[in-house]
């Protein structure tokens, strides 16, 4: 397992697209002390390799194709109604190129 230090936490926060203060990173590092001990309750369990990782409580596979049913899509106004930056019926963001 990757060693837990401030740099690793900063890297994770950066990938998650937010900033945290130095104090917050230290609080989180302290939290990891307890968390690591709590996670050890799982490491102690023997024979887990026999179990498949459980991703859902039970199978809910749908094995048929639904009929094509025409529906009315969102209007432009609805789709943009919660966007904070809109121009000419499109979401406006800073230029990526040029």
């Amino acid at each position: 397992m990757k060693e837990i230090n401030i740099d690793v936490l900063k890297d994770a926060a950066s990938r998650l697209m937010f900033d945290m203060t130095e104090d917050q990173y230290h609080t989180l590092l302290n939290e990891f002390d307890v968390l690591t001990k709590q996670m050890a309750t799982i490491s102690k369990i023997e024979g887990l390799e026999k179990y498949e990782p459980m991703t859902f409580p039970f199978d809910c596979t749908v094995t048929f194709l639904r009929e094509d049913v025409p529906v009315t899509p969102l209007s432009v106004e609805e789709a943009l109604s919660n966007a904070g930056s809109v121009l000419n019926n499109e979401i406006k963001l800073p230029k990526v190129v040029g």
Partner: protein
């Protein structure tokens, strides 16, 4: 006593007999909501509720939810009504569609009077982390005790008798724990029984729509209305829906498993004495109570398993909260800067910490040891729980190790009491099992809850036994209103 303090069936009878009208009860519920000092509400839908209730003039005798006021947790999408999941990242967001459960209740002509507070984005169990601050337990007018979370506002509003029922969501115990602290019936049905379309996802492999009532029969009425397949939630079940109200009627004799490793990790002697008294009453009532051991190492690992999986799923599921499509927009020189500012300003420190923990568990170097190992352990715990339920109808244990804790209480996060007694109810989410909390006693005027977990899709049996617990304790209809105590 007002009609608003009665059960759903009693209110319905009053409507049929024309003793009261939905508009009158809606006005009274709104008055109570506006006078509430427990920070239950993100938004009180006064205008919308009055307009809706005004149209309800011809009582539908076969529809028990007709005209019944209710509230919904603010992580359920409500068309035209602000919904922010108690997070600044969604401040000002107004959904353009209704969650399936909201849609159904509109069709049933139940009256939504407000959206309730929660732990931010439903991640938490204290009711302390929403952007509006603490939500209080109405049983403690001094505001020193929590109602629990994450469905804090819905629990508090039902316990304060503002409404007869309230929608919530439950990923670890977010309906069933606050139900325990608030003297309520709190039901998390089988995973897939109620559509989650329009529920903001936290950890979809464990998320459920659940609800609070003050009577077990009311829980059956609400489950009858909300259950069923919805094509817009591919995980909702095709299994036929039984009549849950009917299922509560005939008293059945059940074989019940009490898990000593959970009970013995509780230090509150008064709680244990009351729980044992309840077991005696249930035995006299015909239940067969067995003490069935479970592996303490498995039980101790429930919390960590839940935490790793839920944080990892949450990290991924909340990636869409970027301040671009919805939520407050912040100017920047690049779209990355726009997103970074929105997420930095929008998420509280606690949420950021959870996301970093989830991201850490998902890092390629850690994934096998943390995330996949937690998922394997989930499978093991579920197989052990299902083994107990093979020979017994239910697991029956205290829902929490104490009455509602004080906000400033501190505890040992590595103790058995914390790891097992305070967190065991996540087994219901791991296995998608129906699970309900019902009050079983009062300790110094504060409620204590017991939890019943049954086999998948046997929600009716769980409700039947919950009704028996309610009958033997005589605590149906409990509320924090002074005259009730």
């Amino acid at each position: 006593m007002s009609y608003l303090d009665l059960s759903i069936r009693e209110i319905h009878a009053a409507y049929v007999e024309k003793k009261v009208k939905p508009l009158e009860l809606t006005k009274e519920a709104l008055l109570r909501a506006k006078a509430n000092q427990d920070n239950c509400f993100e938004y009180i839908c006064e205008k919308e509720a009055l307009e809706f209730a005004e149209k309800l003039t011809e009582v539908e005798e076969d529809n028990l939810l007709w005209g019944i006021p209710y509230v919904a947790k603010d992580n359920l999408s409500t068309k035209g009504i602000p919904t922010c999941a108690s997070s600044n990242i969604l401040k000002g967001y107004v959904p353009i569609y209704d969650a399936r459960v909201i849609e159904i209740l509109k069709e049933k002509k139940a009256v939504l009077i407000g959206k309730t507070t929660l732990d931010e984005l439903a991640m938490g169990g204290s009711g302390m982390t929403g952007h509006l601050g603490y939500t209080y337990n109405p049983y403690d007018p001094d505001h020193k005790r929590m109602i629990g979370g994450s469905s804090c506002g819905s629990a508090s509003a039902t316990a304060a008798s503002i409404v007869p029922f309230a929608l919530g969501s439950d990923t670890g115990d977010s309906v069933r724990k606050p139900a325990s602290y608030g003297g309520l019936v709190g039901l998390k049905p089988t995973w897939g029984r109620i559509s989650r379309y329009g529920l903001f996802p936290f950890a979809p492999s464990m998320d459920h729509v659940g609800f609070f009532t003050r009577h077990v029969e009311d829980a059956a009425i609400v489950l009858n209305a909300l259950s069923g397949r919805d094509d817009r939630d591919s995980t909702s079940s095709f299994k036929p829906v039984e009549d849950y109200l009917e299922a509560t009627k005939a008293k059945k004799q059940y074989k019940v498993a009490v898990i000593p490793e959970i009970v013995d990790s509780i230090s509150d002697k008064e709680l244990l004495a009351e729980f044992n008294k309840t077991l005696d009453k249930l035995k006299e009532n015909g239940a067969c109570i067995d003490y069935v051991h479970m592996d303490p190492a498995s039980l101790s690992s429930i919390y960590a398993t839940y935490f790793v999986i839920s944080c990892a799923e949450a990290t991924s599921n909340n990636a869409n909260l970027d301040g671009i499509k919805f939520g407050p927009y912040y100017e920047g020189n690049s779209y990355q800067e726009v997103m970074r500012k929105a997420r930095t300003n929008g998420f509280s420190e606690l949420i950021k910490r959870r996301f970093v923990i989830g991201s850490f568990a998902l890092m390629s170097e850690n994934q096998e040891e943390l995330f996949l190992r937690a998922q394997r352990n989930r499978a093991k715990i579920v197989s052990e729980v299902n083994a107990v339920l093979k020979d017994h109808d239910f697991i029956f244990v205290p829902a929490a190790p104490s009455v509602a804790p004080l906000f400033n209480a501190s505890g040992d996060k590595l103790s058995s009491e914390y790891l097992i007694a305070d967190n065991h109810m996540a087994i219901g989410n791991f296995g998608g099992l129906p699970s309900i909390t019902v009050p079983f006693a009062l300790e110094n005027g504060l409620p204590l809850g017991a939890n019943i977990t049954g086999r998948a899709f046997e929600d009716g049996e769980v409700l039947n036994f919950a009704k028996q617990v309610e009958d033997v304790t005589g605590l149906g209809g409990l509320s924090a209103k002074k005259e009730d105590r």
